[in-house]
């Protein structure tokens, strides 16, 4: 019997190694897998490369991981916010590397990794600072910039419900990066509000099929 569910959050984040690239779902706090992040801080992996849209809000979740000095580099689109003080201080002190990428390129680079695409040409960013040094091409009279996929060792995502095969459904706009990050990581770990029995999720509305998910854990056990 295939059972991808894990009994504890600690079990679910076991094996995340120092130096790993870890995608973390969420847009601000919507969809942020805070229970998995707390377990990762406890687990102790360091020197991580983190992929997220932002760079932490306030002092919890991703900001707490940054504050614990576990992150070497962050790939994101919008680090600077009213409450990004943890990132701001690390960045100004030169203690974290930033790879800034337009949000649509971030999403498509993640999606490309998940779909086995070796890179793509996009008009986004052409002629701007964020395209400097990148290959460009004129296609049908329009300028494009070459962007590479972003692969990850692990993805930590948050969903509403999951089953033992790893099928997931999400809640409202908390879906955001979850489905594409699940595709782009070797090991995807989903924090769900509720583990349900096989068959309880309507196959017509499953958003992330279980092939993209390796571990499922209930957030409050």
């Amino acid at each position: 019997m295939i059972d991808k569910t894990f009994a504890t959050l600690a079990d679910a984040v076991a094996g995340i190694h120092d130096g790993a690239t870890v995608m973390i779902g969420g847009f601000g706090n919507a969809g942020m897998p805070s229970a998995l992040i707390a377990a990762l801080i406890e687990q102790g992996a360091r020197d991580l490369t983190i992929v997220n849209n932002n760079a932490g809000n306030g002092e919890t979740g991703l900001a707490a991981l940054l504050k614990a000095k576990r992150v070497r580099k962050i790939i994101c689109s919008f680090p600077r916010q009213a409450d990004s003080q943890v990132f701001d201080a690390l960045y100004r002190a030169g203690e974290i590397e930033l790879e800034l990428t337009p949000q649509g390129n971030l999403a498509e680079r993640i999606r490309a990794a998940g779909a086995g695409i070796g890179g793509f040409f996009t008009p986004t960013g052409y002629g701007t600072l964020l395209a400097e040094g990148k290959e460009t091409r004129l296609i049908n009279g329009r300028h494009y910039v070459f962007e590479e996929p972003i692969h990850a060792d692990f993805a930590l995502i948050k969903a509403l419900r999951g089953d033992r095969w790893g099928n997931l459904v999400y809640r409202k706009a908390a879906r955001n990066f979850g489905p594409i990050m699940a595709m782009a990581a070797k090991t995807t770990i989903a924090q769900v509000r509720e583990v349900v029995a096989l068959g309880e999720l309507d196959p017509e509305v499953i958003v992330t099929p279980g092939i993209f998910v390796q571990r499922v854990v209930q957030e409050a056990i």
């Binding site: 601000g28 100004r92 337009p102 986004t124 706009a173």
Partner: protein, 213 residues
């Protein structure tokens, strides 16, 4: 002393140009106010890049849902018939040319339609871009709404942007507190000016050249 349009008047003027059935993204900040002036009897689909179509107004106090926010991370609602989707699909809507209109704020726009709105380039400034570069290039029509001049009186409509660019030749129409201008291959065409303003007076506060009336 020149007459000037208020921010509410600019927002109302932008709203006039959004037809029924349009798929529209309103950028963070000033453009968000356009939603207040869309007539209730006109069905318009508001898109939010974090994964919403059919975005509705802010919820009543107490009804906020942390999983239902807009791109500015403020609580919103979903209209009946609205939909949720993931970031890959959301940005495909933007980058694939499916949105009819996006409305953005700006630091500067050039006479050729170059847009600068993401980064001042100031030393020590932490850069953040979000979806600005995707929106600038993806929508069928890109509207900019901004003050005509900076607080110190410099024109924000320039011959060449001095701030780092968001996109090249991507702006179609500019709405300011003094005028509405179309970016055309021939140059900036005046669509509308505040009452009492002459071409000469507008040109005097506009760095980029204006086409004759």
């Amino acid at each position: 002393m020149m007459n000037r349009y208020s921010r509410d008047q600019i927002a109302a003027r932008v709203a006039q140009d959004i037809p029924e059935g349009a798929y529209v993204n309103l950028g963070i900040g000033l453009p968000t106010q356009v939603a207040n002036y869309l007539p209730a009897d006109r069905e318009i689909f508001l898109h939010s890049e974090n994964g919403l179509l059919g975005m509705g107004p802010a919820p009543a106090p107490g009804d906020e849902d942390e999983d239902l926010i807009n791109a500015g991370k403020q609580p919103v609602t979903l209209l009946t018939g609205g939909a949720y989707f993931h970031h890959g699909d959301s940005f495909a809507m933007m980058r694939g040319g499916h949105l009819d209109i996006c409305v953005l704020g700006a630091f500067q726009v050039s006479g050729g339609g170059d847009l600068a709105n993401w980064h001042t380039g100031a030393p020590g400034a932490i850069p953040a871009v979000g979806g600005a570069m995707d929106l600038a290039l993806g929508a069928k029509q890109v509207f900019v709404m901004m003050d005509h001049q900076t607080k110190t009186g410099e024109s924000k409509i320039v011959q060449q942007c001095s701030y780092p660019l968001t996109g090249v030749a991507c702006v179609h129409r500019i709405y300011t507190d003094l005028a509405v201008l179309d970016v055309t291959p021939a140059g900036l065409k005046i669509v509308q000016m505040v009452d009492g303003l002459s071409w000469e007076e507008l040109q005097a506060v506009t760095d980029a050249p204006l086409l004759p009336l």
